[in-house]
Symmetry: C2
Subunit: 578 residues, 2 copies
């Protein structure tokens, strides 16, 4: 807005567009909740106080109004829907800005994938800001669909909506000064650079922080978070679908350190977004765990705004974006009205307006083509057999609701000269089939903790390389599930024998549906029912599976190149020679 008009509106010399009367303002600057009217015009807040006039007045009758919620770190791809559809899912929950890392699609489609996300977000009723994905591929111990160099990432810097460098997951590369990693840090030296350093401590953590990386969202213990906070990393308290750290970390937070803490969702699946919500859910959980409501709200508003140097939002103050959330209960905020730049976009849990008329990016042929048909696997040629060459094997120990795993050693099960699954001991076979380049790579291993008694599950969502991962009790079921996914051009499936029990197609990069989130959620529910029918007691075995292939989070993971000992950061053999 032209400054003179803004001044005239703030002075009250011109009528505002909208006046929220009789509000209880959650003032994130003063830490108070106080009565005020909020005048809005041209998309920004023009005044707080009394006696403003406006063309439209809404009497909030003592309801609370807080700044729109900001998600400090989220991978939209984990919602399994497009950015526009993601907006439709989170905006009714009061989220008005998300800082996204389009890391998943970048690993499949490279810069074309990032462009798809930016394009698809255009005109959506949500500010989607992008951090450039720093680790594509995550490491050299996997085969991804693309490689992004420092030069590639630098091409993103000038684009509108691009903030900084996303979670630098290759923490050994940082600590030990890998040239390619340092080149990326240097390319974004004048921007915010976010971190990801699970379990890093002591001098190596000092080294990581010394580079200017300024956040971490991977803390799983109080001690870890305390050390990182002391060394200057802003702590993003995460409550994802599979990684739920909030209850563990809330005791860290005091009035004295709260400013260095934010909320983030990282990866949330459709059911959790629909049923629980997004940052609003974290705020409610935080208050339930003992946070002062204003503290919890600051962790989802001002704190991320300050971390990301977004001086135009995160607070209710003159000149800031009129991203506002109205609710009745300060102890458990449930958004009744959500304003984005002064426009009412959601009420009582549902979007108000249809998405604006601009076509979704997926409707643009060139953009669309780049993110479709990304699964290149000839399942008929895949051999899942593992020759028996020893008695004791490394086994991935899955831990419910955690991204980290145990690194176990168990006795192998053998059958006809081969190592096989043994569901009676919850020992399942797991394979990762390279799907981007047709290399024919198949990483093979075993996992415990997933709990299938029979059949198999498969999916092309497999952080971060998103190869085709399959877990099962027998090879036949595994091949059936894998084939169903490959034939759909990506997705997730459950199978038993030759029967596909459930299939959720994810044709966009093998990661996202082109359907509304409710339908995707229904598809997910069918998958989960099938998995439960097959014996798994996990909250979400597909989500769990998708992180068992992520070789940047300890301790033992499987990629298409084989088992990775994350703590040693090297490939290790399946069979122990003892």
């Amino acid at each position: 807005m032209e400054l003179k008009r803004l001044l005239a509106l703030a002075r009250g010399d011109q009528a505002a567009d909208l006046l929220l009367k009789n509000a209880q303002v959650v003032n994130v600057f003063s830490g108070e909740v106080h009565a005020a009217d909020v005048a809005v015009a041209g998309g920004v807040i023009v005044g707080l106080g009394k006696d403003y006039a406006a063309r439209e007045t809404v009497d909030l009758d003592g309801r609370f109004v807080a700044p729109g919620f900001i998600d400090a770190h989220v991978h939209i791809e984990s919602s399994m829907v497009t950015p526009r559809e993601f907006a439709r899912a989170v905006v009714p929950h009061g989220v008005t800005t998300v800082v996204t890392d389009p890391h998943e699609i970048a690993n499949v489609c490279g810069l074309a994938g990032v462009r798809f996300m930016l394009d698809d977000a255009q005109g959506a009723p949500l500010a989607m800001l992008v951090n450039a994905s720093s680790c594509v591929p995550a490491t050299h111990m996997e085969t991804s669909g693309a490689t992004l160099s420092a030069d590639d990432l630098a091409t993103l810097k000038p684009l509108p909506g691009v903030l900084g460098l996303a979670e630098v997951m290759n923490f050994p590369g940082v600590v030990y000064g890998d040239d390619a990693v340092l080149a990326k840090l240097s390319a974004f030296a004048d921007r915010v650079r976010d971190g990801h350093a699970p379990g890093l401590t002591g001098k190596r953590l000092n080294a990581y922080a010394a580079t200017g990386i300024s956040s971490d969202h991977e803390c799983t213990t109080l001690e870890e978070a305390r050390e990182k906070l002391r060394l200057g990393l802003t702590i993003f308290v995460r409550e994802a679908t599979n990684a739920r750290n909030l209850k563990t970390l809330i005791p860290l937070i005091t009035a004295e350190n709260e400013r260095r803490c934010c909320f983030c969702t990282d990866d949330r699946q459709p059911a959790d977004l629909v049923d629980e919500g997004s940052i609003d859910h974290l705020i409610r959980l935080g208050v339930g765990e003992g946070l002062h409501p204003v503290t919890a709200i600051r962790m989802g508003t001002l704190n991320p705004a300050e971390h990301f140097r977004l001086y135009d939002r995160g607070a209710i103050a003159p000149g800031r974006r009129a991203d506002l959330v109205v609710f009745a209960d300060l102890q458990s905020p449930r958004p009744e009205r959500v304003y984005l730049e002064g426009r009412l976009v959601a009420a009582n849990g549902a979007m108000i307006s249809a998405a604006p008329p601009a076509p979704a990016a997926s409707a643009i042929p060139a953009v669309s083509a780049a993110v479709h048909n990304t699964v290149h696997v000839d399942v008929g040629k895949v051999d899942l057999a593992i020759p028996a060459s020893g008695k004791r094997i490394r086994v991935i120990g899955a831990i419910e609701n955690q991204l980290i795993t145990h690194h176990l050693v168990m006795d192998a099960a053998r059958d006809d000269g081969r190592l096989v699954a043994d569901p009676t001991r919850d020992l399942l076979k797991m394979v990762v089939i390279e799907r981007h380049r047709g290399t024919g790579n198949v990483g093979k291993g075993f996992v415990t903790g997933v709990g299938l008694e029979r059949g198999a599950i498969a999916g092309t969502v497999a952080h971060d390389h998103h190869n085709l991962v399959v877990i099962g009790a027998d090879d036949r079921s595994m091949l059936t599930a894998a084939r169903a996914v490959a034939d759909a051009g990506g997705g997730q499936a459950a199978a038993e024998g030759d029967t596909v029990l459930a299939l959720l197609p994810l044709p966009i990069a093998g990661l996202m549906s082109d359907q509304p989130i409710e339908q995707v959620r229904a598809g997910m529910d069918r998958l989960l029912r099938a998995a439960r029918q097959l014996g798994s007691a996990l909250h979400d075995p597909f989500m769990a599976m998708s992180f068992l292939a992520l070789e940047v989070i300890p301790k033992l993971k499987l990629t298409d190149l084989g088992l990775v000992d994350v703590e040693r950061f090297e490939l290790v053999p399946l069979v122990l020679n003892d």
Copy 2:
């Protein structure tokens, strides 16, 4: 430092330069005080923790170490010494960064004055960062030595050490959208823009804040500070020589809003700098008034660093500048050792090393010439007489330790058809003689609250135009004092009859001495003794006088153009027509 070397140092693979062992670290991130060793190399902190090795180890034996103190807003000219000499005065007090507004010299010498300050600061053991002076002249109701347009100020933006736009004092110009003021705000839209809006409230304050101006250091009441804080202005709590707001404002500060509060000294004279100190003094005062010591230290470290987007300092953390202060008593920090970028620069209240060998800017002829010989007054031609044209007059009511004044109306004193001083009623004559351009302008008025019983005081320090201001009981004394100052090329003087009682020459722009601060302080003491001898009971009548000409601070002020009603923001007649 090259990143690979920094990483090697942080990992402990290379020995650091310096290790502060057995420290109690004031951790401004976590709000804790905790034991740690601090390893320093290449001017930055490389690690916090145990087991670092270094070429030099200093055992702090449980002493506290805090980040170097940051003064959020200071006019170095008020120290009456050059920037290099100012550094010598404040660095032993633990101040390692100051954000300065070279506003005084800019009003006298324009951009050449700013250049003098930047050049003179080069190589001094203090980070002097500059905000571009936004109001030169302060208003149209004075004659200054220079005019700086938005285009002029924009030429400063690319210079190293230039941060943003300094205190935008023309708050009516902001609120009512003066084109020249808005042009300056727009020129610095991507930088921090500091505020100055004494007494502004309600919708006009909303307008001021809506422009993106993000601080204020002029709060004189708790209510004023609370309103500004709520509207998003960072509150700089000021404890200057003449404006002492700290005790008034400390009750505002809570754990919940402390992050939005900083300390600043604004204007401190030599005696206060030498005797009380700088930001260290404010921290001690704050703790004495009940602030938690870590809160008080944050207000002088992390908070200003964050406000000014200085991500390289303000905290003890890996990668940040090794600006460090060591002290023994957390309740009353008195710096025992001060490190600037890892170098010990002061110990036990005194500088360690001589200033580096680079010549002071005042030794460079071209720079020096621009800031000398700035007083152009022919005192012999000045007529101080005020014809008696009425009975009741407006009188400036000086308030000790405040920049604001009362706007009084008193009965005039008459003598021989003229309005004269009446020291028996503490009614003194005050004149402001234009000294930059030889216009012959003389603003004339009266003041109460200064308390001279006889004689006069004069000076070329007169915020912000720095014309020659004189206050006295009789015209003869006033002319003597004025002549002494003019003949010295600027300065301050006290006189009685034809006798000069004391004179402090300030040959640099009529504002600063070229002598060490101890000598300037001694000269000031002679002036103050003389003023006391003349009857003034004020702590510092020269400082008080220097702000009685500042027409941006309410309520009644005098410039070379006449009396200014600051609240109406217009020139008003001395004599009332009633």
